[in-house]
Amino acid sequence: MRTTPRTRMTRRAAVGTAAMMLAVTACSSSDSGGGDDGGQITLTVGVFGQFGLEEAGLYEEYMELNDNIVIEQTSVQENSDYYAALLTRLPTGSGLMDIQAVEVGNIYEVTNELGQYFVDLNDYDVDTGHFMDWKAAQATSEDGRVVGLGTDTGPMGLCYRTDYFEEAGLPTDREEVSELWAGSWEDYIATGEQFMSDGPDDVKWVDSPGGVFNAVVNGYEERFYNAAGEVSYKESQGVSDAWDIAMRAVDGEMTTKQAQFTPDWERSVANGDFATISCPPWMLGYIADKSGDAGKGLWDYAAAPQPGNWGGSFLTVTEASQHKEEAVKLIEWLTAPEQQVRLFTERGSFPSSEEAIANSEDEIQGVTHDYFADAPIGELFTQAVDGIPTLIVGPRDQVIQEGLANGLLAADTQGLDGDEAWDATVRSIDNALDD
C-alpha cells in the first residue's frame, strides 16, 4: 500500500509484468465475478504489492464468518502495471475483479473520470462516516458519488540512524531529534548540512532527492492541481518550496543520488548509506526488511517537520461485478474500524478510520516497533495524523510527481543546475500531459 512511482519500479518489475500477463490470461478465460457453485459465491479481489489484507488474515476470517463466500486475491507487484491493466479492462468490462484496490495517486481519476465503471456506494447504504474527512473526500466525486472506501493512510515521520547521529554529535533521543527540525524543512536541511560536515564521511544525510521532494510537497494542500482542477504545478507554492528544499539537498551533496525503490536504492538501505529517510508507516516495514539484522536497533523514528500524508489506498467495487451486493459488504467489512485496527497491529498500515483510532486508542497506542528501538509507533502515528492537509488531488498526479522526482535526480546525477533541471522537467511533464 505504498506509492510506487513508475520510475521506481524495482527489480521485481519483471515479476510484476509477468504476473500481470498471467493475470491478463487468467482473467480473460474466467470472466469477472466467478460463479455460483452450489450457493458458493466467489469474490475476486485485485490488489498490488503486499497489500496486507490477505497477510493479516482478514479474508480467512471473513470466509469463516460467511460460509457461502470464497475470496480469491490476485496481486500485481507494481501499482503502475496494475493500474495500466485496470485501465485497459474497465471500458470493456471484461477481466475485472469484483473488488479492485486503488492507490491514492490514482483515486481522483477513478472517482471522477472513470466513476461510471464503479459502483456508487451510496446506493448500498454504506457507512462512510467513520473515515477521516479528507480520506472520504478523495473517493467522493464532484457530484457526490462514493466509489471507494479507504484502507490505510500514510502519516509521515522521519526515520533516522541513531549511531550516525551520535557520531555527528547530534542528539539521538527521538523527542530531541524531532525538536531539531520541528515546523521547518529548512531546519531539516540545515541539520543535514551540519551532519555532512561532522558526521561519518561515507554516509549521506538522506536517501534521495525525490524522497525529500515528496515528503515536503505532501504537506501542502495544493500541489499539482489547483482547487479549480487545473494543472498548476508550475505556480504552486508547495511544488516550489519542495523543489527548493530538495535542490538544497542536491547542492549540498547530501543524498545517495538514487531513485527510490530501485534495486540500487534497496542496496543503499541495506548498507546504511544514509542517516534519514521520510517514513510513512509502510516505510518502516521496508527498512526492516531491507536492512535486516545489521540495522536492527540502529534506527529510530522522529516526527516530520510538517505533517503530511504519503500513500494509502482504497477498495472499490466494479460495475462489471456479478455480485455487487456481496462485494460491497466485503469491502465495508474490510475497511470497518475493527479490521483497520487489526491491519495496523498485524501489518503496520495505519487506519484511515477516525473511529478506529478513537475507539481502539489503547490498542493502537500500545503498538511499538521492536526494529525501531521499540518506538511507540501507535502513539507517534496518531500524532502525525494531526494537521494532515486535505490534499487537492488530480488525475495525473502520479505523472507530474514522477517527472519532478526525475528532474531532481538528473540535477543530482548529471550535474544540471537547478534552472536547467526545472526547464527539462517542465518540458517533460508538459509533453506527458499534452493531448
Binding site: 513508475r6 520510475t7 521506481r8 519500479m9 524495482t10 527489480r11 518489475a13 519483471a14 509484468t17 509477468a18 503502475s80 495500466a84 485501465l87 485497459t88 474497465l90 471500458p91 481519476e109 473520470e113 472513470l114 545517495t256 543520488k257 531513485a259 530501485t262 534495486p263 540500487d264 542496496r267 543503499s268 548498507n271 548509506d273 505523472v399 514522477e402 526525475n406 528532474g407 535526480l409 538528473a410 546525477t413 548529471q414 527539462a424 518540458r427 517533460s428 509533453n431 506527458a432 500531459l433 493531448d435
Partner: protein, 341 residues
C-alpha cells in the same frame, strides 16, 4: 480433402495409365464418376494449397493485419486509454507533432546509437567466433551449445543480472574498475555509459545466435576453395578475407537485417535496466519502443502512442527497402562470380 486424394489418384484401376477397353457394361455412370473425380482432383491440386496456408493468413489477419490497420486508424484520432471507444478525429496531428517532439527525436537517436553500439561489435565478434569454431577441435558441440545459452536466457533474467552488475555504488563492474584504478562510472545516469551498458546486454544475448548462423554458412563453403587458396600461398587471414567473407555475404546481410529489426524494436533491455519506461531520468536511453510504451501505458495517450508505432513501422519499411537494394547489388556481384566458377 486428404482422403479424397487417394480417390483422385487410385493406383491400379482408375489411374491415368492406358486402361483396357471399357466393358460394354461400363456405362455412363462410371464415366460421370470419373469426370467428377478428375474435377475434384483438379480442385484439390488448385485449391488445397490455399486451404493449407489459410490458417496462417487468418491468424495474421486477426492478430497482425487488423491491429496494424487499427493502430493506423487510432493514430489519426485523439484516444485515451481510459476510454478507448471515444475517438476524436485529429487528422495527421499526431504525426506532425512528432516532427517537433524533442522526446521522439531523442528516442530515435538513442535507438540508432544503441543499435550501432549493439549490432556492429555483435556481428564482428560473431564472425570471429564462428571462424574459430569452424576449425576442427575437441568438444565442438560443447562450444556450440555454450554459444547458444545466452540466447536461451530470458531478456528479463539477463537484464536484471546486468543491472546489478552495472550498479553504481555496489556493482561488480565498478568494483573491478576500481581495482585497476579507474573511477566508478554511473552506468545508469550517464548517457553514453548507460547506452553502452544496454548494448552489452544485447551483445551478450545475440552474439551466440549469430555465431551459429555464420558457422552454418561457413561449413557450406566448399573446402576446395580453401585448398586452392592455400596452394596459392594465401595465409589463414587472407583466406578468411577473400574466401570466407565473400561466400558469407548473403548470410551477413541476413543477420544485419535481423539485427536491425531487433535494434529498432529494442524494448525489454532498456525497460528493465532501471525498471522504468522513461529510459533514465532524462530519457538518456529511452528507445522508440519505450517511448511508445510510456506514451500509451504511462501517459495513457493511445493516439500518440499509435502514431509512434506507425512511425516505427514506416522506419522499418524504409530500412527494409534500403537493404533490399543492397541485397540486389550483392547478388548481382556474387552472381557474376558464381557463374565464372
Amino acid at each position: 480433402m486428404t482422403t479424397d486424394r487417394t480417390n483422385a489418384a487410385p493406383p491400379a484401376e482408375g489411374g491415368a495409365a492406358p486402361r483396357p477397353a471399357p466393358d460394354a457394361t461400363a456405362d455412363e455412370k462410371e464415366l460421370r464418376r470419373r469426370r467428377r473425380r478428375s474435377w475434384r482432383y483438379r480442385m484439390d491440386t488448385k485449391a488445397s494449397p490455399y486451404g493449407f496456408v489459410a490458417p496462417f493468413f487468418l491468424f495474421f489477419g486477426a492478430f497482425g493485419l487488423f491491429p496494424l490497420l487499427f493502430t493506423g486508424w487510432a493514430a489519426l484520432h485523439r484516444v485515451r486509454l481510459q476510454n478507448p471507444g471515444e475517438m476524436e478525429w485529429a487528422g495527421l496531428h499526431n504525426f506532425t507533432r512528432l516532427l517537433s517532439d524533442e522526446f521522439f527525436w531523442n528516442a530515435l537517436a538513442n535507438t540508432f546509437t544503441i543499435g550501432i553500439l549493439a549490432t556492429v561489435p555483435q556481428l564482428a565478434m560473431a564472425l570471429g567466433l564462428a571462424h574459430l569454431l569452424n576449425y576442427k577441435m575437441r568438444g565442438q558441440n560443447f562450444f556450440r551449445v555454450v554459444m547458444l545459452t545466452p540466447y536461451a536466457t530470458s531478456v528479463a533474467a539477463a537484464t536484471l543480472v546486468f543491472a546489478i552488475l552495472y550498479g553504481r555504488d555496489y556493482g561488480m563492474i565498478n568494483w573491478a574498475l576500481d581495482l585497476v584504478g579507474i573511477n566508478p562510472v554511473d552506468w545508469k545516469n550517464n548517457t553514453w555509459a548507460s547506452q553502452i551498458a544496454i548494448s552489452t546486454i544485447v551483445i551478450w544475448r545475440w552474439t551466440g545466435y549469430n555465431t551459429l548462423i555464420y558457422l552454418a554458412a561457413m561449413q557450406a563453403v566448399p573446402r576446395d576453395l580453401y585448398e586452392s587458396a592455400a596452394l596459392d600461398g594465401a595465409s589463414p587471414w587472407k583466406q578468411f578475407l577473400h574466401v570466407t567473407l565473400p561466400s558469407l555475404r548473403p548470410t551477413i546481410l541476413f543477420t544485419v537485417v535481423v539485427s536491425t529489426i531487433g535494434a529498432t524494436q529494442l524494448f525489454g533491455e532498456p525497460l528493465l535496466f532501471a525498471g522504468s519506461p522513461s529510459g533514465g531520468n532524462q530519457n538518456q536511453y529511452q528507445t522508440l519502443g519505450l517511448y511508445m510504451y510510456e506514451m500509451g501505458w504511462m501517459n495513457f495517450n493511445l493516439g500518440r502512442a499509435s502514431a509512434i508505432a506507425w512511425s516505427m513501422f514506416l522506419l522499418l519499411i524504409l530500412i527494409g527497402l534500403a537493404y533490399w537494394a543492397v541485397s540486389k547489388w550483392i547478388t548481382r556481384s556474387t552472381g557474376g562470380r558464381r557463374s565464372s566458377r
